[in-house]
Point group: C2
Chain length 307, copies 2
């Protein structure tokens, strides 16, 4: 959300056009700044590999919006879903609705309404409203902060490569996204978290975004990355996937060093915040340093006249 994800060269143009600060949600100028609003789209060609069951499309489309609320330490309240619907069988549509419903139940939120219209390609745009007594923004990191993540890295990528490689699994890993709502709420309540976002565009790109907003650098450690176990069984470079593929929907958070993430056992510390001049680096297993490139999900899109 906030045009902070998706196609980066579109995002940059839009943010400068409208003067928008990048965050996972907008904070509405209502209710003492505690109401969060976000919107995110999933479309068949971008998000759902061939053969995806319709139920997963419904679940995913709502879950990615809930994840943006989680990324700001909010509690999701309810959502709207706008669906662009092509040729579709009645049963498929019912399965999409069931996926949306099951996700809304799992996170105790209401589906308030939405919109449908005809289009050539299925796409589902969710809008989610949440509440946060103290929203966790992307801005707030200081050199010296610890850097932590929730869950695994590379789970979404493992799912994608398993699905597209016809390995008979992967749909759940890629599409049954489990937004880190409880974790976001705990981070916001802890007072330890200095900034937070979800990492859906990939760890490396998320760090570049946090680096831009905060004017800082990062040093992470390859041997501390919580790689998704099944990722190691695939014929791909697991670290490449964990860093650059995206689709994980975990939280990345800065933590005050003196508190060291106490009572936040669901986080894993993978590095620290450094000075901007130090860049965005990873200490490899062999002790050498490598730069993390500014690439990840949505980086490949180009305007038709700039290709």
């Amino acid at each position: 959300m906030i045009w902070s994800k998706g196609e980066r060269n579109l995002v940059k143009q839009i943010n400068s056009f409208f003067g928008i600060e990048e965050d996972d949600c907008s904070i509405l100028p209502l209710g003492e700044g505690k109401i969060l609003l976000t919107t995110d789209t999933a479309s068949k060609s971008s998000d759902f590999p061939k053969g995806t069951h319709s139920w997963f499309m419904g679940w995913y489309s709502l879950a990615i919006n809930i994840s943006d609320i989680a990324g700001m330490g909010g509690k999701p309240l309810g959502a709207l879903l706008a669906m662009t619907v092509p040729d579709l069988r009645k049963e498929e549509f019912g399965e999409i609705l069931q996926g949306i419903y099951d996700c809304s139940s799992a996170y105790s939120i209401k589906v308030w309404g939405g919109d449908t219209s005809y289009g050539e390609e299925l796409s589902i745009t969710g809008t989610c409203v949440g509440l946060a007594s103290k929203p966790l923004k992307r801005r707030g990191l200081k050199p010296g902060d610890l850097l932590a993540v929730t869950g695994y890295l590379g789970k979404g990528g493992a799912g994608y490569f398993a699905m597209t490689g016809d390995l008979g699994w992967g749909e759940k890993e890629l599409l049954r996204v489990e937004p880190r709502v409880e974790e976001g709420l705990a981070l916001a309540k802890s007072g330890s978290a200095t900034a937070c976002m979800d990492n859906s565009d990939g760890l490396a790109l998320s760090l570049h975004q946090l680096g831009d907003v905060n004017g800082v650098g990062f040093k992470i450690h390859e041997d501390r990355l919580p790689l998704y176990p099944e990722l190691l069984e695939l014929d791909i470079d697991p670290v490449e996937v964990a860093l650059y593929f995206g689709g994980d929907f975990e939280l990345i958070t800065g933590l005050k060093r003196e508190e060291g993430g106490k009572d936040l056992s669901f986080t894993k510390i993978i590095g620290e915040v450094t000075e901007k001049e130090d860049g965005i680096k990873m200490v490899k297993r062999d002790g050498s340093m490598m730069d993390l490139e500014e690439r990840g999900y949505g980086q490949s899109w180009r305007f038709a006249d700039e290709r």
Copy 2:
């Protein structure tokens, strides 16, 4: 919004699935029920005739959302835009943004953020937030109320047929939608309005929707319909377009009979609310009565297995 527009057989399935009452906006369970939220999608194949200039796509996509806020007597505050973007030149994208920006300026609202993703077809989903001290709902009509509309009927249809007939005009009529925000606010303030909605799916279908929600019928008069003047110059049946085509984004409102729409000179009384058993009828110019069919924008869509 609220799955009350768009493809009616999808809408009905969704509303019963989620237990949603049809209205132009959701009323958030926050801020004492004064915060309105709506979402609406425009897509290239559904909403933009061939040759549409990109600026109009931007304006339209935001304006249709503002219209839903107007339809509930609210004041729009700000919006998010989620864009699914296919092959596009940089200039086209800039024009879309300019259209969005110009619409936001014209209605003094903020664009807070949004999302972009790649897709095969351009679609833009807006989300708009508004405030209403006393939201005008669809429910509230009583037999005996007067029925009034704002502006012209058939303006959107005239624009569509002019554009698709290559008459050299029509883009403004169809796509430079002017949401009736001031009018909606005045209706809400007046205390005369008993219910309200925008008529974007067409007058006849909107009356059927209001009839369903309120358990009432309607009697309108052909000779009172404020037909868009240029519509009469086209080689089509103007009343058919005004009743069934959709795309007008005017307000339809019930008014207390005793007050007769005083101080609401921007409305035109076209008929009255009747008992449900009386049906939904139009008195033709020759004095005969005809039933208004339940059809309008989005009625032609069918599930692939039900065609």
